[in-house]
């Protein structure tokens, strides 16, 4: 009798082993499990595989979380950490901006205020910047607060990096004289380079403003002055074109 019970027990164990091994894989994973699977690849540095995985997952089930996971792969490959950006974001000036930069003094002064905070944000270029541009582009398709707060961090790095591309222009003693006295002096410089620089960082500034509007809907008016600043600075770009290439 006791051998029979022992045998039943052993048979029961082996049945469970065979049955469970064969069946436990059939259940469809939840969205959270699917995201965890893809992020395992990211944690192991398998970025290409993770990008393909999340692109396919997003096509099969487009959701905010899958989109953020997909964009996260680019951010990880660019070597950035959102936590670092959050600390920098908190120091970003939200005041002292918005007075109409009618004079070059105003503009230069305001740019320098921005520069001080932007210096706390990583400067990236090359393929890392391309990765962030890709992340920003795919996140643009959704306007929900959680997607846009993530995009806001990315656009902040792009703003900082494109702005710093023109450090030499900003620090040039000629630029202040040129802007104050005669914009035509800039036309003798590499004015297209100045124009391109102005257009790139002001674009990301305006994108950032849009991200903040979606992330913090009740604070939209707090960012309105910043938007005006970016638009005005962008206006110099058009003014340059009109002056140098009439």
């Amino acid at each position: 009798m006791k051998y029979a019970i022992s045998l039943v027990f052993v048979t029961f164990l082996s049945g469970l082993l065979g049955g469970c091994e064969g069946l436990h894989r059939s259940q469809a994973p939840s969205e959270s499990q699917s995201i965890q699977t893809g992020l395992e690849m990211v944690d192991q540095g398998q970025y290409e595989e993770a990008l393909q995985y999340f692109q396919g997952l997003y096509q099969a089930s487009p959701s905010d979380n899958v989109l953020k996971a997909w964009a996260s792969v680019y951010v990880a490959r660019a070597g950035l950490k959102v936590s670092t950006l959050y600390e920098a974001f908190k120091t970003f000036p939200k005041e002292n901006l918005g007075s109409n930069p009618e004079s070059a003094d105003d503009l230069i002064q305001q740019l320098r205020v921005y520069k001080k905070s932007l210096d706390l944000i990583p400067y990236i270029r090359g393929t890392a910047r391309e990765d962030l541009q890709s992340a920003s582009a795919i996140l643009q398709s959704r306007n929900t607060p959680t997607v846009r707060v993530f995009r806001g961090f990315i656009d902040l790095v792009l703003l900082r990096s494109t702005f710093s591309d023109g450090d030499q222009i900003l620090l040039s003693p000629d630029i202040k004289v040129s802007l104050n006295q005669n914009l035509k002096i800039v036309c003798k410089m590499e004015w297209r380079q100045v124009k391109s620089w102005l257009e790139s960082w002001t674009l990301y500034g305006l994108e950032l403003k849009q991200d903040l509007d979606f992330s913090f809907p009740s604070h939209q008016k707090d960012w309105a002055q910043g938007e005006k600043f970016f638009q005005d600075a962008r206006g110099f770009s058009s003014q340059l074109t009109r002056t140098c290439d009439p």
Binding site: K2, Y3, I5, S6, F9, F12, L13, S14, G15, L16, L17, G18, G19, C20, E21, G22, L23, H24, Q27, S32, I35, Q36, L39, E40, V42, D43, N65, K68, A69, A71, S72, V75, A76, G79, L80, K81, V82, S83, Y86, P145, T146, R148, V149, F150, F153, S215, F216, P217, S218, H219
Partner: protein, 315 residues
């Protein structure tokens, strides 16, 4: 036959992950060891072995217990996004567990009450934009165990539990918490649940190593899902103490089957135990001084480890 058994198991089980400190303290060994530490009461057939009546009380807690009150606020839905961020932004997988329990054990029965059980497990992935999976809860549990020998060799038992629960399961990118209005998702699920866990043990007379086969259908009161614990243990008496050892397995849907080797060595006032599976290891040491018990358990999973502390008494 294998498929039939497998299908039956599939119908009965589904994915679950619920912490229980008594399980964690000894690992899966808690379900198979017959010479239990006075701190544990996992297998209801064990009460069939009791010759005395006694009252017990225990306190368990893990590392990070100082955050218990903050986690309680999260589970109760009272925490702000900033407080949630501060709890889970350290970019590591972590466990927090805390429990008090008390009860009376009689001959073939036990009545237990847990006025406070709190658990919080966080798993963090992708440091560049951290993705956190949080499983947290608070429970108050009443339990009743019955166990009896059907004959000299075969014993059966039943554990019945009723629990009042607040459970929070959430996966999110931590950056989400910075956006406006996202804390609305952090609302706990409140519920009352009942769980029944039957068990059987077979100890053939004269078997080598006093073999004992045991099987238990363990139902979780957290989500009513279940798993089967099955194993065999052997008991050897030495002049320097008692050595119990064996092999057990846990069967649960969506989880790979993990054979588990366990051993416990009781010598005088001290007891040492180890439970080793592929993805989970537990090492514990207990000390008993008259009516007072204390224990230390080290729990290791891939990418993480935690210390559990225990204090208790029996009288």
């Amino acid at each position: 036959m294998k498929c039939l058994v497998g299908c039956a198991i599939l119908l009965l089980t589904s994915a679950s992950w619920a912490l229980n400190l008594r399980d964690q303290a000894l690992g899966d060994a808690c379900y198979f060891i017959r010479e239990k530490s006075d701190l544990t009461l996992c297998q209801p057939t064990n009460v069939a072995r009791e010759d005395n009546e006694f009252f017990y009380g225990n306190l368990f807690f893990s590392e990070g217990v100082h955050q218990a009150e903050n986690w309680r606020n999260v589970i109760e839905g009272r925490a702000t996004p900033e407080q949630i961020l501060s709890l889970i932004q350290d970019n590591r997988t972590s466990y927090l567990m805390s429990e008090t329990n008390m009860g009376i054990v009689g001959r073939s029965w036990a009545l237990g009450f847990k006025p406070y059980e709190l658990w919080a497990k966080t798993k963090i992935q992708n440091p560049s934009n951290p993705y956190a999976s949080v499983d947290a809860g608070f429970a108050q549990v009443l339990s009743l165990d019955f166990g009896n020998y059907l004959n000299e060799e075969l014993s059966v038992g039943l554990k019945a539990e009723a629990a009042q629960l607040k459970v929070l399961k959430q996966s999110l990118f931590l950056a989400d918490l910075l956006a406006e209005g996202t804390n609305v998702h952090w609302q706990p699920r409140q519920q009352t649940r009942f769980a029944l866990s039957p068990a059987a043990a077979f100890e053939p007379n004269g078997a080598w190593g006093r073999a004992r086969y045991s099987v238990m259908w363990k139902q979780s009161y957290v989500d009513s899902t279940g798993q089967i614990m099955a194993g065999v243990s052997f008991l050897n008496d030495f002049s320097m103490g008692d050595l119990e050892w064996g092999l057990g397995t846990r069967f649960q849907e969506s989880e790979p089957v993990q054979p588990n080797l366990f051993t416990q060595y009781a010598m005088g006032l001290t007891t040492f135990s180890a439970s080793v599976a592929k993805d989970e290891q537990t090492y514990a040491a207990f000390l008993k001084l008259k009516s007072f018990d204390s224990g230390l358990s080290y729990f290791i999973t891939p990418g993480d480890h935690t210390l559990l502390f225990q204090m208790g008494f029996t009288m």
